[in-house]
């Protein structure tokens, strides 16, 4: 995984997440019929994220950022195809817990990967660059969705997001493959 593919895959997943976020909020509000349920759903997300952060941090040192990022992208691709189906508040709570864990995975690995990618050189510049592109894509997605939602159902929005997460995962998986190829080829080149 090199810096470019990392930024590309992160940009795609940012696109996906900013696209569905406002509608996900709406969904939570519609399923929960009181603000206390809304609060609990959000609290569960934040709390599981908080509790899993240290574990994920350690895990990332052991198994590497790439595997965790793959877990996140595939995980979210899966979650997004479940979201349109849920109808009950308890299903929503479970989903919030899963998303809490996955969210923590993303938050931690995003940082560890960036730190390892830059390896002390031009760190600020690279992080700046990283945030530029991921945020630009996020912003574009939010605006585009505003227009698209007139033509799409909210359900199909989640499916599109899932598809984007899947692409992001595939890019990550492919990238390593290419990288290894190049590494093999490298010694041949003088």
């Amino acid at each position: 995984m090199n810096y470019r593919t990392f930024v590309a895959s992160q940009s795609i997943l940012m696109t996906a997440s900013s696209m569905v976020f406002p509608f996900y909020l709406l969904l939570i509000r519609n399923i929960g019929d009181s603000y206390s349920q809304f609060g609990l759903a959000y609290g569960l997300f934040a709390l599981t994220a908080a509790l899993t952060h240290p574990i994920i941090g350690r895990l990332s040192d052991k198994i590497g950022d790439r595997s965790l990022l793959l877990l996140y992208t595939w995980g979210m691709a899966g979650v997004m195809i479940i979201v349109p189906l849920i109808e009950t508040i308890s299903a929503l709570y479970i989903l919030q817990i899963i998303m809490g864990i996955l969210g923590a995975v993303q938050k931690t690995t995003e940082k560890t990967a960036l730190a390892r990618q830059t390896a002390g050189q031009h760190t600020g510049q690279k992080i700046g660059n990283y945030h530029l592109w991921t945020s630009v894509w996020g912003a574009v997605a939010v605006m585009a969705t505003g227009y698209l939602i007139d033509f799409l159902t909210i359900g199909s929005l989640f499916y599109i997001a899932s598809f984007l997460y899947m692409i992001s995962a595939v890019i990550l998986m492919r990238s390593d493959y290419i990288l290894k190829d190049q590494m093999k080829e490298k010694p041949v080149q003088p």
Binding site: W74, P84, T153, G155, Y159, M166, Y177
Partner: protein, 479 residues
């Protein structure tokens, strides 16, 4: 190669899951929950159709005709008795069907698609010195919705909305488009206006307009026993009074005793009208919203709201305002989003001469019962039996009550118990009640208030034998 295998495996699992999810979703998404402004009737509908063109509506009505599905027609959905909803049916959202088709300032007529709101019309005609004849006090509603409930408003000279309708086009249950006016297909005219969406889709409407005039507010405070005479002598007989609005206290200290009134009197100097013609926008939301909020939960809040409101209105005595601006009263501050509670309306009509005794009887009931009554606005509507479901069998005062209540089954039952008593009191005074609200009235009460209700439903079944246009109001009372 191992990586490719993994990638393929993941993709296969993903595609399978995706397909499975989509399969389940496409079956499940046949239902969408919809609600009207009363928020007591969440209903699962099959389709939500945002209407933009006549062709689309015609197409959907024909499709429904073939598949045997039902259609409910929705504007702003401020009717509160499920008039825009029916389980597993198609909801036609008319708000996008909103073009102004023709406007003739000389003839004082305007033709609009039924999803146009009063606000749209006001913006169009204000600069021509014209104004709507009859509409609600607020301008957020669609013309089609207003026609379907045959509204009335602050105006005291032009009657109910039906009186200002020239003609309209109706899309019938079998997908045909017909003109309806007092001359053409005239038998339908009094059924479709005040027809609660049961006869077809009102496509476009030609309305008669009035001159925009400059009014001067005339406000006064009075005891409820003096109101009838005040109205008869100072308002009704004085042709220069064009609009009228009153409030009676729901605050504990002055409960159903103290009143204040505002008359809108044609100003002597119409030449200064130009200074006031700019259409006003709602500005102060936070303060009234806060005060209304406090009044929901406490008696002192109600007292405070009453005093402030009264002072505010009395202070406006002598103020100049154009007719158009009087007809765009604030509404945003009333929006209420508590998930467990809601605010419902009731409107009772009582003959002018029976007002004081009626209020005494209402008070007697309300002092014994639990009801979180937040506001009562009083307006006047002259005798008018043009519509089959006419509420003004006499010259009537119309009392609109704003009630805060819970959304649970028990809450609904508790409110029903009290409201049925209030309705009995109203009917005993030869009164009537308005139909766009939650189905609290019993069948018996409905029959007493609307002697022609059977005729109305029979005509509905005759005109729409397959019951293509259906809503919860029809289901509750008509079947």
């Amino acid at each position: 190669m191992l990586k490719i295998k993994w990638l393929l495996l993941c993709l296969i699992i993903y595609v399978t899951a995706f397909y499975f999810s989509l399969h389940v979703y496409s079956r499940q998404s046949v239902t969408i929950t919809a609600e009207d402004a009363g928020r007591l009737l969440p209903v699962r509908m099959k389709y939500f159709r945002g209407v933009h063109s006549t062709k689309e509506i015609q197409q959907w009505v024909k499709e429904a005709h073939e598949t045997g599905e039902t259609i409910s027609i929705a504007g702003m959905q401020h009717s509160q008795g499920g008039h825009t909803l029916y389980p597993n049916g198609t909801l036609l959202n008319m708000t996008g069907y909103s073009k102004i088709l023709k406007f003739n300032p000389q003839e004082k007529k305007i033709t609009v698609q039924s999803g146009v709101t009063w606000a749209d019309i006001q913006e169009k005609i204000n600069s021509y010195g014209l104004s709507v004849k009859v509409m609600q006090s607020q301008n957020i509603f669609t013309v089609g919705g207003s026609l379907s409930v045959n509204v009335h408003g602050r105006d005291i000279r032009y009657g109910s909305l039906i009186d200002s309708v020239d003609s309209f086009r109706l899309l019938t249950p079998d997908g045909k488009i017909i003109n309806v006016s007092r001359k053409e297909n005239s038998e339908l005219f009094p059924f479709v206006i005040g027809g609660y969406g049961l006869f077809g889709v009102i496509l476009d409407v030609t309305l008669e307009l009035a001159d925009d005039e400059l009014y001067q507010h005339r406000s006064a405070e009075m005891d409820y026993r003096d109101y009838e005479n005040y109205f008869k002598e100072k308002v009704k007989q004085d042709d220069s009074v064009k609009m009228h609005l009153a409030r009676i206290s729901v605050a504990s200290e002055t409960f159903l005793k103290e009143m204040y009134v505002t008359d809108y009197v044609l100003a002597d100097q119409q030449n200064i009208k130009e200074n006031y013609t700019e259409l006003k926008e709602e500005q102060m939301i936070a303060l009234p919203k806060f005060m209304l909020g406090v009044s929901r939960y406490s008696d002192w809040g109600k007292d405070l709201l009453w005093k402030t409101q009264k002072e505010y209105f009395i202070k406006n005595d002598g103020k100049y305002e154009t007719r158009n601006n009087v007809m765009r009263s604030d509404s945003e501050f009333m929006e209420y989003e508590n998930p467990n509670r809601t605010e419902v309306l009731q409107e009772y009509f009582v003959p002018v001469d029976q007002f004081a005794e009626y209020i005494n009887d209402l008070r007697a009931v309300l002092e014994k019962e639990e009801l979180n009554l937040l506001n009562i606005t009083i307006r006047y509507v002259g005798h008018d039996e043009d519509a089959v479901l006419s509420y003004a069998k006499n010259d009537m005062f119309a009392l609109v009550m704003l009630i805060n209540q819970g959304r649970s089954e028990q809450d609904i039952q508790a409110t029903e118990k009290v409201l049925q008593k209030l309705i009995d009191v109203t009917l005993d005074h030869d009164g009537s009640f308005y139909l766009p609200y939650y189905s609290y009235p019993s069948d018996k009460q409905l029959k007493r208030a609307y002697p022609r209700i059977e005729e109305f439903f029979e005509k509905k079944r005759e005109f729409d034998p397959e019951e293509r246009f259906k809503n919860l109001f029809y289901e509750r009372y008509g079947q």
